[in-house]
Symmetry: D2
Subunit: 410 residues, 4 copies
């Protein structure tokens, strides 16, 4: 056993086969005490079996932590991110990325509460999630140890994993004997699928990959309209009914999923340097983005909006790369939050067979001035002659450039 | 007549009632010679009537210029812009903005060829188009005069305009007697509608506003797949058939329009300082953007892609504001074009009832490495242990920050 | 008199000849009541004469406002700007730009307090100051009228101005009979000089232009060291002595001026589209910038610092262009302020014959870790082997690019 | 010996003790053939001794490469970088960073020419140079092996190194027996010193650290003026005399060094995550930056200049981090180079006791228009009334914001 082996480890534990193997491996490899942490982030699985499985694997009841984090997840992570209209590489709503910091935060907090000196996760050495888990953990506790068994152990094939499981009396569900045709991550914001049958980016994803949205072809033949209300940049009500953050996202997921909205077939650049292909389903988040953009259209000033747009790619990249708990993400958040003071009002969306469109928006905070824009007589709100001076001064440097070109050629 | 009154003016002339009134007003107000320029940018109207109308209004045949600019428009303006995945304020494909510089360029060139000292346009004093026309004109000829009758004359009501038309024997089509319910601009890239019945952003646009796309509800019940090929960032073929730029966009418009794709209900920030609401239809452009993003996903490096993403909002803003012919737009174009050397390959899109999704992409220039990303044995392409060092060094500064916080609190 | 002529105007009044002429012109042109506002921003002139002059010109005592704004100027404008290390076009410390918003703020507030419907300033129609005054005024009161006599009147030559002054019994100091050889603006942050003898950017500025700094050649032959302490990004003490913001800047001006520091000969791009040449003297500000950078070097994280650096040019441009009171400046300020929480500590500067260099810095908030960086044995603080993995993953995309190039050529 | 041990290695060889130890270590550790590459980048050392030393250590003559790269270094690396006015973290002229890519390029090329499968360098595992060497090498040859002995071997103390040297008959100069008090890197652009006596950032650097510049106090008591001419952004002549790139930089180093210009005491953020303190001397580069900015002031448009300024921090960071040979650096270079077409003209600098100031600049490509900016009658070049419209439209959105605030409060 290495000299600096962990003595007590908090493991991000799903109750599934893989993290059960990790649990046992930590015990046998390091002889350390294991604390399990299982969070409900809206992945749609019951948590009770995780408790039973942990107990079965010998975890003491006081070392089993099971928590419903859905409200915290949406309120403190998803909503702040949506204030930025964040999209990674133009299209991806960051559903996996945004969940990792919260899990790490609780791992580190539970470590402090239970006197553990290490945390462990089940992410592989090829992906982004290891980075996100570990950067978050180190940012919150610089002395914490992080154990990433997939980078350490020699269980490098499905066969070896199953052998290890059998050797340690870990129950294996029948359908886990064969290899899953793809790998899934889910939380209240999205479901992502990747690997194996999805590895050829030229091939359309098979229909059975999609789990949270009906096919657009199978969606209702009649459009549905929904109104989302915002206060200071965050959604607060659906169709006039006030709801908690997690409730709103749950409801939007139902609506979006029913209409086949939020599917994304995507090849992205991982932080670790390679391209990968993923299938994402973000039904509620897709509605939320469209609605937030809609309410910003009338309540956000152009200077504020253009500044937000220009820093958004960096903000999204930071979250994707795992830097949620970093000074620069917090600085950008301060900038974004400052912009949202008046992003209050209501938007109407039209949902239909795979797409969502904002078709109306209104607000007491609106900056839209019919008096200024109207084709009709504007009663002096705007003096068209001002435009001449505006253009002349904007043109001045262009004229000086053109005059130089002419002079040098002439 | 003012001392610096124009002697000869090239007018951007559509053949419609408004620019016919301008034509006559220029003649009467300034006593100047008028040259008409009518361009086919794919707006879908015949140009012959414009020639006849100009002749009727007394323009000499040698002063009537009618040109088909569709290929130049798509090749030298639309395609370069799409290399950037340009979207104004997150959503607008800049269909009006991108057409103005080309019209100004031809106006200035025709002025030089005909010895005119001025150009004139029919844009109002409240909009962006006046800015775009004039900045382009001044950037190409610093001494050109620009006449913007809408900012000068006193024909400030529909009634006065019609009286002027009647007084000057300008034919008025029957359906122009009443006010149009909204205002339209069209070219090969898009149709925009704004004003009047569209002025309340809370109200859904009536269905008769849409001119180039069927309603998604009326689109075919069966999805259609289309393959678009790119070379160095520009579309070159549809379903394997090579086509000219304008032919490609025309064909994509048919496909997108048939499936109800590319509708946008949008409140935007005008350069002149007010918000306005527009309805845009960009069927072909919407397909093109999705396809271009798809091919970039596998052929563009992350460093290149993220840099492009970060400067895109500024690039789009420049085009929107009328700075196509500016050093900074050309600098950004040089950056963007440098990135497109390997953006070559083919994308498959799925079109269905209002939405388009990229569902496959392949290329000899692909950077996607199944060997690296695979969940299967990667035969040593990637050493997972490298990730530990990668994370440690990325985490180092975060650890130092956390240690400081602890030290100062402790 | 125009229908919408102002009834009561608050004039930014220096007590000099030009603003005295404006005062009288406002009275005669508009027949309006004039309120004078004279601020001490550290320009180094006594304010009492301004009061006397105003009285002499018939301003009622209750309409004469004279205020010492030095502390507010430094605390709420200069210091927040220096948190950003703001430089316009790489070199200019924005000494004029940052004073204008405060003057406008007080003009608007005094207008509200006195029931005035307009404000007036003495900036010309060619410069940036008119823009800064007016944008600030409109941002604080959308209905305020702004009178800019230089853009309106016909007093377009020195002769006409003097004639007007004589005709209205405005006293003319003897040295004002001839034209000043250049134009000066001054406040606690800087002195700027421009125009006339300075208009040829090829010609060195004559020595008599400089007013606040000795020539480096005339500075002491012995270097002087000074220590500046910061708390949360703002200077709070010099050589260990705590001082108020304005006192600190005053003291730094003395030190810098004595050593010939902070002279800038500069050709800049005005917002209104032309280039102009200015001579700036910012002795204290130059020290402050060097010191602030020095303390940030050890207390600011790289992620935070690089983000600040990247937005700085836009922040500086906003201030230069007059957008201090804009949402986007406030958003950027929120970002910058968020970064300064730990910018606390002390810096030692060396001043010598025209230049200043930071030669030492220390702080309890330091992130500098001798344990990590040392060439000596680091006792395990840093594992050099981590660097291998760090490099491999940073290199991965570059390798994939190189492999593609090889493949396509091969 | 590891299975994938290198067979033939090209070593970046200075001829000094450390790289001689590496040479021998490569031979003994891997039993591989060693090729030495010694470049003259202007570090100011003779190269002949390196050849003799290599021969002495048993390198075959055909495996000894000694090259004068000074012109290529300045022309293809230093000058392109100076077109950007690149400064890392506001102050550092990147003298070390910019030399590494060229060395790597030649290493990889010599490897190809000699059939070597690996390259080796003498950078430690804590610094940036390892990253710069290796990213460049991998970007140019994805299959090259890179050997970094300092990360691999167990010669972790001075004593062990000297023992290894003695055991292998490597001559040790007497003054190398003791430890150097700091570590030095030099090339034509700069000298950097770091480590040991410099490790406490609170302590002023001792005077003996400076090697290339006299102390300002010891510089001439009389200012010196120098004129630098530029063509398309690159310096081409000094005081009217055309010179090659390396000759120009050499001459500027003499001038700057004589006047004590270009010293920097700096704490920077390394890419590998820690802060370090360095003393930099960049005499010629400091003059070049000031001159380049000066000529840009009159020849570069504001739109172009502001865009350059805004991307400069990212460009500098890329070079600092070792990404010279990356798509994004090349994209930014394309943008920068596009801006330099008219950056042609001459600048006059004043050098005096540690500081340099631009005091004059002129060019046929100048955009400075005395006609526009003059305080005198401008003969109609500029209509001051245009400013009113310019301000009104820039203010419009601010007025709408202020009106909203008033409405919501009212």
């Amino acid at each position: 056993m290495p000299a600096n082996a962990p003595k007590k480890v908090v493991l991000a534990y799903s109750g599934g086969l893989d993290t059960s193997i990790i649990l046992k491996w930590l015990q046998t490899e390091y002889g350390c005490e294991v604390v399990t942490f299982t969070a409900d982030l809206g992945q749609g699985e019951e948590l009770d079996p995780a408790r039973k499985k942990a107990e079965l694997l010998g975890i003491a009841p006081e070392n089993i932590f099971i928590e419903d984090l859905r409200e915290e997840f949406v309120r403190d992570f998803v909503f702040p991110m949506f204030r930025a209209n964040a999209l990674y590489e133009g299209l991806y709503l960051l559903g996996t990325s945004i969940a990792r910091p919260l899990i790490s935060k609780r791992l580190v907090e539970i470590a402090a509460a239970t006197g553990a000196d290490a945390v462990a996760h089940g992410a592989t050495g090829k992906g982004n999630d290891q980075v996100r888990f570990e950067l978050s953990a180190y940012a919150l506790n610089p002395d914490i140890k992080v154990i990433a068994p997939w980078r350490e152990w020699d269980l490098t094939s499905r066969t070896k994993l199953l052998e290890f499981a059998e050797a340690h009396q870990i129950p294996i569900a029948k359908d886990k004997r064969g290899e899953a045709p793809f790998s899934v991550d889910a939380n209240l914001l999205h479901t992502s699928s990747e690997g194996k049958v999805l590895e050829d980016p030229a091939e359309d994803a098979p229909d059975y990959v999609y789990q949270r949205t009906v096919a657009p072809e199978a969606a209702p033949d009649t459009p549905e309209y929904v109104e989302i209300s915002f206060e200071r940049g965050d959604a607060t009500a659906i169709n006039g009914e006030a709801m908690s953050p997690a409730t709103i996202l749950t409801k939007l997921n139902e609506l979006g999923g029913k209409h086949g909205i939020g599917r994304l077939d995507f090849v992205e650049n991982r932080f670790v340097g390679m391209k990968s292909r993923g299938i994402y389903e973000t039904p509620g988040g897709t509605l939320l983005l469209e609605a937030h953009r809609g309410i910003e259209q009338i309540t956000l000033d152009s200077g504020a909006g253009h500044l937000k747009d220009s820093i958004m790619p960096r903000y999204a990249e930071l979250i994707y790369n795992g830097f949620w708990f970093s000074p620069e993400r917090e600085m950008l958040q301060a900038l974004i939050d400052e912009s949202q003071k008046h992003v209050t009002g209501t938007v109407r969306l039209k949902l239909y067979k795979g797409s969502v469109r904002c078709v109306g928006r209104w607000s007491e905070h609106s900056l839209y001035s019919e008096a200024h824009v109207t084709f009709e007589d504007d009663a002096g709100a705007y003096d068209q002659k001002d435009a001449a001076g505006f253009i002349q001064l904007n043109a001045l440097r262009l004229k000086l450039l053109a005059a130089r070109d002419r002079r040098l050629k002439g």
